[in-house]
Symmetry: C2
Subunit: 219 residues, 2 copies
Amino acid sequence: MKRDKSEHGKRRSYHHGDLKQALLEAGVTLAREGGGPDAVALREATRRAGVAPNAAYRHYASRHDLVQAVRSAALAGLARAIEQEMAGVDETADPVRYARDSLRAVGTGYVKFAVAEPGLFRTAFTVPDDLQGEAVPEKAGRSGMNPFQLLGLALDRCLDAGLMSAAQRQGAEFIAWSAVHGLAMLVIDGPLRELPPEAVRGLGQRVLDMVEAGLTRNL
Amino acid sequence: MKRDKSEHGKRRSYHHGDLKQALLEAGVTLAREGGGPDAVALREATRRAGVAPNAAYRHYASRHDLVQAVRSAALAGLARAIEQEMAGVDETADPVRYARDSLRAVGTGYVKFAVAEPGLFRTAFTVPDDLQGEAVPEKAGRSGMNPFQLLGLALDRCLDAGLMSAAQRQGAEFIAWSAVHGLAMLVIDGPLRELPPEAVRGLGQRVLDMVEAGLTRNL
DNA sequence: GCGATAATGTGTACACTGTACACACAGTAG
DNA sequence: CTACTGTGTGTACAGTGTACACATTATCGC
């Protein structure tokens, strides 16, 4: 820790000190401002970190590797958005209400994040990758759970509350995720963009109604 | 129509004859084989058409313009996949059955196309654009309807059959679309890729069950 | 048929990207 | 102090999109 960066982009010491993190942050900014993963460029990231282009290769094997790191950060952001929404549900309510609200909180947080950070949201899901190593802290929120695990948590509460059978619980993540993810895509990229926020909220409620009706025992 | 292309990539005449179409076809191939819109490169398309790079600018204003043309072709392909599935429903069945089968056919064709042509599917939806001019023949199937309109048709049948109220019909496209589109994304890019085809089919049925349960009057 | 004009394809050029290779500097272990 | 290892630099090359001037061909008015 002996670099003096002088905080104005310039640095005086030969070594940066925390280039990996600086590149990641630059990548996140690029994805956010550029509206998606295509906007994250290795050279531009190094430029913003005040460093030569090839310095990046000491920390990321390739551009794709950097994009994956940005993707992890984006997933973590999504997880935090969901956690924030879940923190607002009343735990003292009756179990059925609690379970329902939890499930809706996941969907609400999900869509909120997509609308607030479309560039990061696209980066989180546009990029196909390794398929392994999804449950890592880089992709998790403060609770240590990634978005997928948070959804599972909400569904478990539904199961505990008797809202769904064990058979219905099986694979329910994918059913619920499909609906909410599809809505998010339609809102940010599809025919529903430029829809006023309250209309998005209304549509989100209807989608969540559908998820509940189609996934849980009607009672 | 006086070019002699000799059909082997080479051409002898100065003019190509149908370069616009040739570039579009090359673009479609690139999107298909490259797995998405990023793979469609202007220079590569001109190379495949046996023409200088800048010749493309006589027919497409920019790379983005070409990608949009590929997107239209991809949407048309999706429309045809849906039409093919809808052609299989029994029109002589009772109206309720007919309406239900129509709706399921849309979802089935949608997911089938996504799985069969992931590169084109991504191209059809990854690219945000003008928002206007969606109902054009370039994006339609043989029936002259684009995928969205085909979904509307199936939903109208549900309305006619008394399966849903007029209020439920309002905006139902977006609800149904959300669910199916989300599933398609999960299957080709998300945690569900490499899921065996029959498992995808089963999950698709559950999603369609959810759509029905959440969207239509229960009777 | 013939010449003007519009349509279409070519050539050169530039800025930008990712990344391979050899080199320079700096911190650490022996 | 000397190696060695980790990190950042410089140069280089292939690939991309696209702007500009030019060449070739098709078409239209005569």
